[in-house]
Symmetry: C2
Subunit: 320 residues, 2 copies
Amino acid sequence: MPAAPSYPELAPHMSALRAFLQEQVGAFEPELHGLVIEALAHPGKLLRPTLLFASADNGSAPSDNVVRGAAVVELVHLATLVHDDVLDGADTRHGAATPNRAHGAHAAILFGDALFAHALVLAAELPTPDLCRMVARAAREVCSGEVCQTFSRGNVDLTMADYERHIRLKTAELFAAACRAGAFLAKRSAVEIDSCENFGMRLGVAYQIYDDLVDILQTSDKAGKTLGTDVATGKLTLPLILERQKSGTDAVRIVLSGADPHTVISKETWHACFHRLDAEINAAEAALTPLGDATSANLLKRLSAFLRQASAEAQLRIPQ
Amino acid sequence: MPAAPSYPELAPHMSALRAFLQEQVGAFEPELHGLVIEALAHPGKLLRPTLLFASADNGSAPSDNVVRGAAVVELVHLATLVHDDVLDGADTRHGAATPNRAHGAHAAILFGDALFAHALVLAAELPTPDLCRMVARAAREVCSGEVCQTFSRGNVDLTMADYERHIRLKTAELFAAACRAGAFLAKRSAVEIDSCENFGMRLGVAYQIYDDLVDILQTSDKAGKTLGTDVATGKLTLPLILERQKSGTDAVRIVLSGADPHTVISKETWHACFHRLDAEINAAEAALTPLGDATSANLLKRLSAFLRQASAEAQLRIPQ
């Protein structure tokens, strides 16, 4: 995913989030402190807390509950990253696991579980179960989406509807939950809460489409093991599904068998992909209409504008 | 762990639980239905639902909330089993993983996550966050306890206090949460809720001690890869810790290096272990005093009596 735009207005929010997260170390058993500290040491883009803070922002400093909500969505995301690392690292194609990796995987699976459970503990300390419900549901969808994608590896007949459902589950649901939680915890109106949630859902879909396009596109620029991982793991994404609709299943089959995707995916298909991506970004912004010119609408639109710019830059890489 | 005693009185409860769990299949994405059905097809001893129902029972049929609570604790337990199977199956000592296993591990980790998240979704559908809080906290402790034990593998100096803490975390906290949740969801008094929780905590410790004793004891009766797994994985449990206190660290070291534990652990140490186990069972029963002769006290005592009987039988296996 592209880097996130910078948000000077949210600096106090992020600072409060960092402090809150650091306080959580002590909630774990002493043996886990090192793992927790390490997990928090590389905070990444903090995209989900950014969505939550932006959806909450009504011009004032974030409440304790909003900061707590941001910590919850970030911890859920960190837990999925911990498990993703185990899954991606378990590359039995290229040889046996080292004892070190085997030991790491054991602790990592359980540690990911503990991080996720702690996120729910924090959510359940609020007086109502709403945050728990939003977050647990989104977490279930994230993991279900990943299972679905795992099971559909190598399936050249994956339908567009299934692809759309899988990316909604694995990415957009947690984006949507972060936005909903932010607006909810900031005690905004039902219309505003729904508006933020809808934005998160569409932006999440757009982010994942962008990611999927770049995963294939960048293989024409650079070589490297980590690039083009979707095709390498038999994962059908938007360009191949659209190309299949145009040229038939054989085109997709030869790519999954190892052919360079750029020999198969036409320029027209690439343009159709970016058309779809831009339509999702537009739909995300349209979802914000009920917010008018509220601070949150402007903060959220900076994320969609950033993605639109990244999309424009990626389009320059379409092979001519 | 030993089989559970039969509970004819709880037959309607278990039947309601089975029906409720089956209804959950539809809450998952179609691709996961097979996994969910399979996970529910082999229900095991249902020890945690039994604890929950027994703690709830005030002579009437279980309320919908009580049945939901039983499903939640069972789903959390199933999720940990799914991840345990991945961990135990990842036996890199004996050769590389089959492609089939590698594929299985990927889906299994994510499916365990989804099961756990769904348990929390069910808990969060109640009007208050209490069940979420109990269950999320217990789940965090279970996983933390497992990480602690993983990290302490091969540590011949593991203290008694750390051993006690680890087994409390990995087993007793979820037993205690099941009991607390049952009494809470049945709207019992604060004293009764605490009493049930204390019983669960002590019984959980007793169960884990029993498990740990039998893990070593049964290696004298039978041979088999799955027996004596604690010693094989460098895990120090009660018999070795007590033997170390008597004979010094070298005794423990040679067992972890592969010597037959029965050449090292003395008869006196075995008797001290069972003395400790029986004391925990007695403490569990004493925790029920505030309940008087309520139905739940009698139901719960049947579990402790069952474990006392299993303990007496296991003592007959102490090498003479």
